[in-house]
Structures are given as C-alpha cells and as structure tokens.
Symmetry: C2
Subunit: 300 residues, 2 copies
C-alpha cells in the first residue's frame, strides 16, 4: 500500500477519537505507538502531539515540534541527542522538501489550550516549514521542526480529480514567497538576475521573474531580519536549494553544495549590497551537523 | 511616491467607505475614476469591482475579473476588444508575475451577494492567479483575470519589519504548488529531473526537488485535468516560466520562449509518458495573441 497523504474521506478537522486504535482504523495515524508516521524515502504523512517533549510549543496555527529520539519515557526528559537522520525526523524533512501535507493529531494535554480534554483530535493538515538542530531545555540537541497549518481552501474543481482521489483533490500545498518592499528593491537592483547563476526567468512580455531570498529565515524560531543584510536576489531553483538545505554560503561568500561543502560559485554583488556573514553562518548551522562546525556549536 | 502594496495601517478588512474620495484618502484605492490602480512597470496595487462588466464573476474567495477597455459607460456592454497591454491590464499581469498582493474593493452591486448595500467595502488582499483572453458575452475579446483571496496569516515576527513597514510586514504571498499523488508519481518517474533542462535541484541529504507542472491550469476558468496527460516534471525555474507565460509548448513538443516563438529545447520523455497536445495548445492560447494563432481563435 502506498503512503496516503491528505485528509481521508469521511474524516473532518476537529474530529475526536477515543484512542490510537481508532486513529489507526480511520487512516488518520497508522502507527499505534510511534509519534511520526513515515520514512525518509516516502516522507511523513502524519504525526501525533502527545505532550511528551518539554521543548514542544503549540501555537495553534503553528507548532514547534520536537523530533523523536533521546527521550526517557518515564521522566519525559531528554537524555541523549536527536539526529536528522533518525527515521521519523528524516521523514518529516522529506515532507518539508516535497511540500507534502502532514496530518496533525493532538492528544489530551492539560498544558495545551489547543489539545482535547481526552482522547485525540484531528487538527487538519500542516506543512513542515523549516527545522533547526539546537540544544533543548535538557541540554541535548533536539530536532525542532516548525509546522504551519495549511489555510483552508475551497475544493479544486477539476475534471478527473473527484473520481481519482477525492481526499487529495482538495489539498493545496504552498511554497510561500514573502514579497516585501525590500524584496522588490533587491530584485530591481539586480535586474531580476540570480546572484548565484545570473539567470533571470522570462515571464510574459518583457517581464522577468526572481525571488527575494532571506538567508536566515523569518519567523519563529529563526527570527531572521527583513533587511538587505539578510536578502539575496535568487532564481527559484537556487532559492529552493538554499531554503531546503542543498546549498550553504561560506564565510568568503562563495556557495557550496551541502553534501560536499565544495564551493561551486561566487555570489555576484551589485555596488552597495552585502549580506551579514552571521546570517550565512546561521543558515549554515541549520544544515551542517555540529561535528562539521565545532566552532559554531561552541558559540550556541 | 513609490506605489504602496498591502493593507494600509488603520484599515481593516470589511471596512466601509462612503465614496471614491474616502477610498483615495485612506490609501485603499488612489484613482478617483479608474477601476485598476497601477502601471505595467510597477504592477497593480488595488482594484475596484463596480458591477460594470457583464463578464465579472464574484465568488467571494475568488473573483473572475474583467480587465479594462472596450466598455460603453452608458450601456455597460462591451463594444470593442480588450488588450493585455492596456495600462491597467498590464499592471495586473505584472502583479501576477511578481506575486504582489492586490487590494480589492467592492462597490455596491445588487447582483452580488458579496457587495455592500451602499458605498464601498474593502475586501482584503488577493493575488492574481492567472488570466485568459477569451470572447466575452458581448462577443468581443476580454481579459479575464482570476484573483484569489490571500489566506489570513498571523503577522510575521521579525526584528525590523515592525518599524520599517508595519502594513507590509503582515503580507505573505503564496506561489501554490499542488502536490497530488500524480505529481509525486511523475517526479519519481523522472528522478526529479526537469523535462526542459534536466536539472534536479539538490536539497538536504540525498533529496532532490522538482515540481509537477500542470500545462492547462487547474481550477476555474481553465478546468485543466489533474492527469498525466496534463503534467510535466519541471524545475522551479521552468515551472515559473511556463506558468507566467515566458514559455510555451509547440505541437512538436519542443518549448519556445513566448517572445520569439523560437524553440530552445525539446521536452525529454520517459517511456510511457506523453501529454495531450490539446493541453499545450490551450496553454499557448493563454499567452499568444489571437493574431499569431488565427486557427486557435477560430476554434474558440
């Protein structure tokens, strides 16, 4: 059976379930014990928030979710580092890269204002927006993933989708592009050409397309700034590569693939524009294991 | 003064205005007569729906909006063709390509369930998702633009945005990527490599990134199908170029820039996959003026 993404037919957001067996039978969350359903190859299709991790933060529309591993079941404290390659964590990172919707279930948790009083509640579809490896409250490294609730959308009207896949037909995944005044400014400054490869994507007429890319991501937990010192003008391909950890910026402002850490291009600059190397270092720390950059980790 | 995008401070969605002068003073819609505010170079920042075009359709969350031109003020009927290069229409197309948010104002209109009983109402920010040149009810060509309401978002928390541009800081623009089971299938089939250029964008670890691109767009008014005969595996750059009219697919399945109509690459195919040339012809008709393809237009 292939993994099922999206909300199953006959399940609605807000629906309550008695126990994990009911969640399993309704195809909302298949594993009976694990909090994350999925694999590195296929992606994650669902998670359960159980209140079991001290570093979890539930803000309703977005959740800072602690990956799995290193948790002591009896005390619910972290007793070891987590890793981005552990099965469930790797599954969620695959879902992030592919923009897959993740079903989120909340278990009863007195500390959360969003959790049900008892049992489990289906909270709807979220996307994994970003993740960071950071020390948690108990001092061990945790994988902290940010999940954002997908905005409700009216069903897409298509000719065939209704028959072929009723549940998925209503699912729309967003790759968000923040377009601020600064972003428009930097795109104009570079004539919409990518600072990595020089490409300006042609659009209708004489229009060209580029994206303003924040090096240190905006929003919690990263809190990068919306400033020119944190912005690059990139083509969609290199923006994707930067955001999804396929590329990092080195201290000499060359770019390298994350896998080899070998530079493959120098960033191109227009007069008067430069980024803060601390933002590049922050972005790099998101995607390079602590072992590769001991000096970064010591500063954290 | 540079053009202002987003919702002005002190204006809220649903706010009522007595007349066009009040809309002007509140910076919601600056022109006192024109329905579209903007230029081809800067993009459009606001529009007013006045019930003046017979082809307008207001569905609340999305609007099929008729561009300007060719309308007889007295009878409110179309008496000439509209053009995508007319100032307001070109401005809206620029906003589409750049993902700019457009303020939408509804004027009183007895035929619309969404319009206010009198005066004008600010309906919030929309994006221009697509447009089509088609014959309208009165037989003349109209520019029909689809606008989609931006999902409400909690304000971004950034360090500097609050001071620098309070209104715009809350604006997030989406480029939507529908990721259906079919889209996952086609990306797997092509190993995430683009059918135009062969690029597979590297992401974290061994992950690769590509997008499933619908040739004839889904949703109203296009009603393209979510089927393999309407899907390509593309890199984000060529997906952008296809969706924003920088590239069309010719009948021999080569791709050409819209500007020159000269082929620059042949689509690469994996065994068993092909698209329906009618979908390519439909997409082409969106971006090429009727003069260039008289046979297409005759069939419409």
């Amino acid at each position: 059976m292939t993994r099922f993404f999206g909300t199953p037919a006959n399940v609605h957001v807000g629906q309550l379930f008695i126990d994990r067996r009911e969640l399993h039978d309704a195809r909302v969350h298949r594993p009976l014990r694990a909090g994350i359903s999925g694999t590195a190859a296929e992606g994650a299709d669902s998670i359960v928030l159980s209140g079991g991790y001290v570093d979890d933060q539930d803000h309703g529309d977005y959740i800072l979710y602690t990956g799995h591993g290193g948790n002591d079941g009896a005390t619910r404290r972290q007793i070891a580092d987590q890793s981005p390659t552990a099965r469930g964590n790797a599954a969620l990172i695959t879902s992030m890269v592919n923009g897959y919707p993740v079903r989120v279930v909340r278990g009863a948790d007195k500390k959360s204002r969003y959790a049900p009083p008892a049992g489990y509640q289906y909270a709807g579809l979220f996307t994994v927006s970003s993740y960071v490896t950071r020390p948690g409250r108990d001092g061990f490294l945790i994988i902290q993933l940010r999940l954002d609730r997908l905005a409700e959308q009216p069903p897409l009207v298509t000719r065939e989708s209704a028959e072929s896949d009723p549940a998925f037909a209503t699912t729309t995944v967003s790759r968000r592009i923040r377009d601020s005044a600064l972003s428009r400014e930097i795109k104009a400054q570079y004539g919409h050409s990518c600072q990595v490869c020089g490409t300006a994507v042609p659009a209708f007429g004489d229009r060209l397309y580029a994206e303003g890319a924040h090096v240190r991501p905006l929003g919690r937990p990263h809190l990068g700034s919306d400033s020119l010192q944190n912005l690059l003008c990139l083509c969609p391909n290199h923006h994707t590569q930067l955001d999804f950890g396929g590329m990092v910026i080195l201290d000499d402002l060359s770019v390298a693939t994350t896998k080899t850490m070998k530079p493959f291009a120098d960033l191109r600059w227009r007069k008067g524009h430069e980024i803060d190397v601390e933002n590049a270092a922050y972005h790099r720390s998101l995607w390079t294991p602590p072992e590769q950059e001991p000096q970064e980790q010591a500063a954290a």
